[in-house]
Symmetry: C2
Subunit: 275 residues, 2 copies
């Protein structure tokens, strides 16, 4: 209930994501005694993604901007030589053929997505570990449970959860859906029972009915999985009344959505993220 | 288990749909003593749907071909004056404003989809009844339970369950999915507990993994609802192990599908069919 508890009614909903970022940074600074600077680079990402629909192309462009921003900030701070990343082993396995004949499944922005020429030297201390192992180390080091227990978040951000072109309006819609899902999972005390849970905005409109009127609006897919290390995963058997409540809230609280589906696929042959 | 029981291993899968049509016609002829002629007009429908993606446009074009075929067949038979249709009241309510200010939700091909000029006179004895009422009448008249209990099937056929353009390949894919879903529901003895259950082919590809290879394939949505009269409906709370089995079979038995979702939306604000 970390961030939710801190939110006051007086903050307008459109400012929530930024406010949550601020809180996250404050938490990192306080609990870990880190000197953290937040950078708002949303516009650069939006610009590079304009008109792009291919998932691999999206990931590569995001990786490029990601590094550009880092290098720019590094120059601003003075002499910076290293980029430390929390890359995990599954990212490596799925991005490049390292130790065998595995093909590229997805270019994780912090691995396959990095530009070949880069002025920062890369340090990835967790590169050969799975997430459950990293969490064990974190516990040893005293990292707060609120940070350790957070669901994995994709490197390329919500862009891979917006199928088709990424626009500011779609990001806002997906953020609202994300907040509802997160809230309902925590209220049901199930947040920590699933490996990951998130909404995906589909580039699909379907017919609905509102009062006596026809609607033709978007579909949101809910993805929730159980997993030990992210390499394989099963769809979470969430209680059906919880699913009904989430579906009802998404449709009634988010303008432009009239249908909700629940992903019932395992990895393999699906993946956790859709793109 | 009606049609499934009759199917012999020796019939190639690609001929199944046509064989099922033959059986259905034979059943109508035998049980109801009707003189029924089957017409294969698939090519005309495929042709009129080429390149069409708008749901209302699809429905109107299908309605047009539907009447064309009827008139053509009528001429072939000699002097035919009437077209008898099983139009029900919900089709009427959703297609046209008859008794109040309800807007057009969907043009049902047998109501709003009919061309304005038509050489056959229309008889619709069930036009003011709901399906549960029609089933009661059917029982009184001795119509076999296999026909009475069949799930509603949309007038425009599978075309409204293939989002985006309708092609022969996509129809085949959806028919295969339909057969798997139907079979699993009957095996679980749940066919009669749901109002309707069907797959929808989404015009969306997502990333998956097969062995060490990346895949980028289609998504199928499963829609199953409970309802009394079709005017309102709730998504069916199917057992989760059944959903897992259906999802597993769809992905492993149908080439080109790597993800399955389950529709968890009610009507309203969604509708039962997606288009």
């Amino acid at each position: 209930m970390l961030f939710q508890d801190c939110l006051e009614e007086s903050i307008p909903p459109s400012h929530l994501p930024w406010y949550i970022e601020l809180l996250a940074i404050a938490l990192l600074a306080q609990s870990m005694k880190l000197n953290v600077a937040g950078v708002r680079a949303g516009e650069a990402f939006l610009k590079t993604l304009q008109g792009v629909t291919d998932p691999e192309e999206k990931r590569k462009r995001i990786g490029k901007v990601f590094i550009d921003v880092f290098e720019q900030e590094a120059r601003r701070l003075g002499r910076v030589e290293y980029l430390v990343q929390g890359t995990l082993y599954p990212d490596v396995i799925e991005s490049v053929s390292v130790r065998g004949p595995s093909a590229v499944i997805k270019s994780h922005h912090n691995v396959g997505g990095l530009p070949e020429k880069m002025n920062l030297r890369l340090i990835e201390p967790l590169r050969e570990l799975f997430k459950d192992e990293v969490r064990m180390i974190g516990r040893e080091l005293g990292v707060p449970e609120e940070i350790l227990g957070r669901h994995p978040f994709p490197g390329p951000g919500l862009a891979v959860r917006i199928l088709g072109e990424v626009t500011e309006e779609r990001i806002r819609l997906l953020q609202a859906a994300d907040r509802i899902l997160d809230e309902e999972l925590r209220l049901a005390d199930l947040y920590n029972s699933v490996w990951q849970a998130f909404p995906v905005l589909l580039p699909v409109s379907t017919v609905g009915v509102m009062g006596d009127e026809r609607t033709y609006e978007r579909v949101i897919a809910i993805r929730a999985v159980t997993s030990v290390d992210g390499m394989t995963a099963d769809w979470a058997r969430l209680p059906q009344d919880l699913l009904a409540r989430i579906s009802g809230r998404l449709v009634s609280e988010i303008r432009g959505v009239n249908r909700v589906v629940y992903d019932i696929s395992s990895k393999p042959p699906s993946t956790i993220e859709w793109e």
